[in-house]
Every structure is written in structure tokens, then in C-alpha cells.
């Protein structure tokens, strides 16, 4: 049998104490004190994030895990905004028009929110956020819709919006270039709303959703290349009210209806299981990356929880056993 030295070119270190977890990833060492072999492995998990002052769901959420923004709330259509610094939420500039079921993108100092509805017709409105206040953009979407999805990690302030509910489930794709919206020639194969979205303006992902009132919940994933949509690896189960973030080759999907805790990762080809949320929710707002995500609000309970969760990848020292 080959020895460790023959494989790796050096002997296992014998140490009085463990190597710090973050520095020991991929290494193996002997801990003289505990008389055990140790290694450091990366583990993923959701942990609690700061609690918002207002419960929210199906609202606007964007930014990163440590610099996020959320505005409005479905059902109550408040205009209030909160900003997250990685630890706690604080009040920020109000929206001009409160809406539910809209989507958002960009950063805490260069954000964009669009679409949704406030108990009336679906909105085509776009607002931009500069870190202090929202400004209504002269740019309007061609199709007013709610419960759509969008790219989540585009370079601000650009975005791709897709799907949603107009008078029926939509397959339409629109792109915002920072100044105006244009309808893409590419439409999704499966019209749906309450779907999840991730990716960038020219490499977006659409997954899950429902194809109409009382219709069929979908497991379909489609990938957008800036021009057209192609089929991707299906979700392991049909899901709506699902949330996404990350890029199309390292995306995260989490939550769903009703009160789902499931988290999935997408590598550009297939979905795989990830550690579950602590609190199952649908209609969450999501932002960040596939390895550092923030899940914001959601239901149950109505009218939206104040809770947030942070998905991170961290190194942990483990004892090597034979089992």
C-alpha cells in the first residue's frame, strides 16, 4: 500500500495543537495532545442573520450577504426600506411606490427594482437606488407583471427579467441596460410565475414556478445566454415560490411553497442537495453568491417573517476516524 509520503511527497506533520481550520483545508496532521489524526474540511450551513424591523415576503431584495437592501412587502405594499451590514438591519430611503411580487438587482449603492403590483394592475415601473434614496426611472418594462424572476448577480444597474404573471403565465424576457428595457427575442420554453431566478444579465437561470392559477408546479430549469433559452438540469422536485441567487454555474436555490427548507446548488449542469434552511419559507428574497448568500423574510408566517438566514461555507477541523 502506498504511504502518505509517497502520494503527497512529504510526511504527515506531528503537532502539539491543531492547524487553524481556515489554513488546514486539504491537509492532514497528527495531534500529539489528543493522539488523533486531524484534517480540515469545508462545510456549508445556514446560520441566523440579523432580524428586520418589519416582516416581509415577496418583496425586493438585492446586494450581497454583508451589504443588502430590502424594500416593500407583498400584501401591505409599504414603501419602507432596510439595509443590512452583515450583522443588523437599519432604515434606509423609501421606495416611491410599494409593490409586491417585483424583482431587484444590483448593489446597496447602485440598485434597481422593477415590476410587481400593489393590489391593482401589474406594474411596469423601475426605480433605482443610490444608497440613499430611490428615483423613479423613465424606463418602463413592456409587460407589467408580478411574481416574475430575474438575474440576481448582474453588474449594476443591469438586469434580465423573465416569466411572471401578466393576464396569464408569461415566458417573456426583458433586459435592462441601465437606461432602458428591451424585449429579448428569446422567450422561455415554459411560461411560468412564482419561479426562481439567478445568474447575470447574459447568463441567467430560471427554475421552478407554476404555469397558471391552479396549474402545474414545475421542476424545469432553463438557462439564458443573453439571446435565447436552453434546457438545463431539472430540479429534483417541482417547486414554486422558490428563491435563487448566485451565478449560473454556481447558483443556490432555497425555500419554496409551503414552508420548504430545501436548499439546492447548481453547477451549470445539475442540481445537488445542500444543507437546509432552519426555517422553511416561500417567497423569500435572496441575494449574494452561491457560497455566501442571504435569505430574507418569507412566509409563513403571514404577512412575512422578520427573520433572515446566512448561507456560508466555513472550514472546520475534524478528527479522522476509520468509520
Amino acid at each position: 500500500m502506498a504511504t502518505y509520503k509517497e502520494i503527497f511527497g512529504k510526511k504527515i506533520q506531528s503537532l502539539a495543537s491543531d492547524i487553524p481550520a481556515a489554513q488546514g483545508e486539504g491537509q492532514i496532521w497528527y495531534n500529539e495532545t489528543s493522539d488523533t489524526f486531524k484534517t480540515s474540511v469545508l462545510t456549508e450551513a445556514w446560520a441566523s442573520g440579523g432580524v428586520m424591523t418589519l416582516g416581509r415576503y415577496n418583496a425586493f431584495g438585492y446586494g450581497t450577504q454583508t451589504a443588502a437592501v430590502t424594500s416593500s412587502n407583498d400584501g401591505t405594499y409599504v414603501t419602507t426600506t432596510e439595509e443590512y451590514n452583515g450583522s443588523s438591519w437599519a432604515g434606509a430611503g423609501a421606495l416611491n411606490t410599494g409593490r409586491g411580487g417585483g424583482r431587484a438587482g444590483g448593489t446597496q449603492t447602485d440598485g434597481i427594482v422593477f415590476a410587481g403590483a400593489s393590489g391593482g394592475p401589474n406594474s411596469t415601473a423601475t426605480e433605482t437606488y443610490d444608497g440613499t434614496s430611490y428615483t423613479t426611472s423613465p424606463a418602463t418594462m413592456a409587460a407589467g407583471r408580478r411574481n416574475l424572476a430575474s438575474s440576481t448577480n448582474s453588474s449594476a444597474p443591469t438586469a434580465t427579467a423573465f416569466g411572471g404573471f401578466e393576464a396569464a403565465a408569461s415566458a417573456v424576457t426583458e433586459e435592462f441596460n441601465g437606461t432602458s428595457w428591451a424585449t429579448s427575442p428569446g422567450s422561455m420554453t415554459t411560461a411560468r410565475y412564482k419561479l426562481g431566478g439567478a445568474g447575470t444579465q447574459t447568463a441567467a437561470l430560471a427554475f421552478g414556478g407554476i404555469d397558471g392559477p391552479g396549474g402545474t408546479v414545475q421542476s424545469v430549469t432553463e438557462a439564458y445566454d443573453g439571446t435565447s433559452w436552453a434546457g438545463g438540469g431539472a430540479l429534483p422536485g417541482a417547486e414554486d415560490q422558490i428563491t435563487g441567487t448566485g451565478v449560473s454555474t454556481a447558483a443556490l436555490a432555497f425555500g419554496g411553497n409551503p414552508g420548504v427548507t430545501t436548499t439546492l446548488g447548481y453547477d451549470g449542469t445539475a442540481w445537488s442537495s445542500k444543507p437546509a434552511l432552519a426555517t422553511g419559507r416561500g417567497y423569500m428574497m435572496g441575494c449574494g453568491t452561491g457560497t455566501a448568500a442571504l435569505g430574507i423574510g418569507g412566509i409563513p408566517p403571514a404577512p412575512g417573517t422578520t427573520a433572515t438566514e446566512e448561507f456560508t461555507v466555513a472550514a472546520a477541523v475534524k478528527t479522522v476516524t476509520t468509520s
Partner: protein, 95 residues
């Protein structure tokens, strides 16, 4: 031995439950600040450290059901226009 401990505890935000906690024991949150915790030493310690109040499963389920029924009543009181695009809250059964 029961698989879970049931209790209520107020989520105060960051570090209420940590990455390490999630590795150490099962944890699920529900409406009414109800938490279902894996029944091991670390799970029990976590609930105690969070000033949690241990409940029986029936008591915890009653708290969750009351919150769901309140949300259902609020939904039922809405007009058709207000309900548009939103589903009636469904029942939740604790594990």
C-alpha cells in the same frame, strides 16, 4: 428517547443559531417562534442558552396552529382583488 425537543425562543438575529449549531443538532423554526431541536446534549443546551421555554409537542403544535389560523382568518377577510396572486396559508404539522 424522543427525537426532538420542542420549545419557544425569540430569534434575536445574528448568532441566534450559528453555523456550528447547525452542524451539532437538528434545528427547524416555525411560526410563533416555535423551534424543533434535535434531542441531544448540544440541542438542549442551545435552547436553554436562548432562554427558550420547553413545550410538549402538543403545546408547540397549538401555538403554530393558532398563528396559522390567524393568518387564514386575515386572508379570508380580504377581497378577491387583495387575494390576487396570493395563496391561503396552509396548515403546518410539526415533525
Amino acid at each position: 428517547m424522543a427525537l426532538f425537543i420542542y420549545g419557544t425562543a425569540t430569534n434575536y438575529g445574528k448568532n441566534f443559531f450559528t453555523h456550528q449549531d447547525r452542524r451539532n443538532f437538528f434545528l427547524r423554526g416555525y411560526p410563533a417562534e416555535v423551534w424543533v431541536v434535535g434531542n441531544n446534549e448540544k440541542g438542549a443546551l442551545w435552547l436553554a442558552e436562548k432562554n427558550g421555554v420547553e413545550k410538549t409537542k402538543a403545546e408547540a403544535q397549538a401555538l403554530v396552529t393558532a398563528e396559522v389560523e390567524a393568518a387564514q382568518a386575515a386572508w379570508d377577510a380580504q377581497s378577491e382583488e387583495e387575494r390576487l396572486g396570493r395563496d391561503r396559508p396552509g396548515p403546518i404539522t410539526l415533525p
